[in-house]
Symmetry: C2
Subunit: 151 residues, 2 copies
Amino acid sequence: MTDTSALPDFDLMRFTPYRLAVAAQKTSEALARQYRARFDISIPEWRVLVHVAHAKDASVRDIEAQVVMEKSKVSRAATRLESIGYLKKSVNEGDRRLLRLSLTEKGQELMAELLPLAQSYQDEIEKQLGADFAKLEEGLQTMLARLEDPS
Amino acid sequence: MTDTSALPDFDLMRFTPYRLAVAAQKTSEALARQYRARFDISIPEWRVLVHVAHAKDASVRDIEAQVVMEKSKVSRAATRLESIGYLKKSVNEGDRRLLRLSLTEKGQELMAELLPLAQSYQDEIEKQLGADFAKLEEGLQTMLARLEDPS
DNA sequence: CTTTATTCGTTGCATATGCAATGAAGTCAA
DNA sequence: TTGACTTCATTGCATATGCAACGAATAAAG
């Protein structure tokens, strides 16, 4: 009797990285559809904008590290945002290799619409999850900490 | 005094979809590095393999739905996996539009290595998170359910 | 000071991706 | 049976992406 060497019964649907990916993808895209339609902004561009709005004068390097994005991706997003008039690039006079990304006035106005949109989406998530939100957050918190510093 | 219209203080680092994305990306890539180096398999290809290993005779459509992947992505992954000799494509005789994807013997052997790798990575995650794993799972569970069926 | 290494941001290039269009197969109803 | 729709998988094409290479600026050695 030929042993078909039965494979382990591994179900993708119970694989944590996969579950995280699905949750991330669906939630991100749900919000992205909103601002993409209204403002023609991609997800990477949105992330750069949000970071710059939060931390004044960010460099590409800062964003790469903080926002977990390839620097070339950051660079291209910043370039496009500048060409549309939302961002201004200037040189850091202290270290002239670094860029200082900042919101233009038009960028400020954009973020005045975008940020409340994001905040209400976040509120919606918390409301939908109810008590489970805190649990999700606890789990995510320790997971992210481990990923940051694998002790 | 010109009102700079201070923007809402929104921190990307506390935005749930973003946190999920980072967790998903880092955990997925950590495992992917392992099997990419050893077997030259991409993440989409890995997902297709895992699904086919779990559910015999999957069609592209099945995978698209179950694995949350664009059908063109599934199609290309399947095509490459077939060309490498891990997968076999045959026609579903009941409905000849459908494909029947199945593992070749070589594919079985591959999965006999890949699945334990994935399982031990999952075990590692659960071990690392300890008690927080159950919390993460509870949160993820209700979130995924909501995303599936937004009541 | 030069010379040698690093760091930062951009870009070239090959690959990956999403979306729309296509062709083949199947369903349904007249 | 024929003809209008629908479903499935593949593919063409435009865009997005990752990675390596580059030029400019700085830091570190000698």
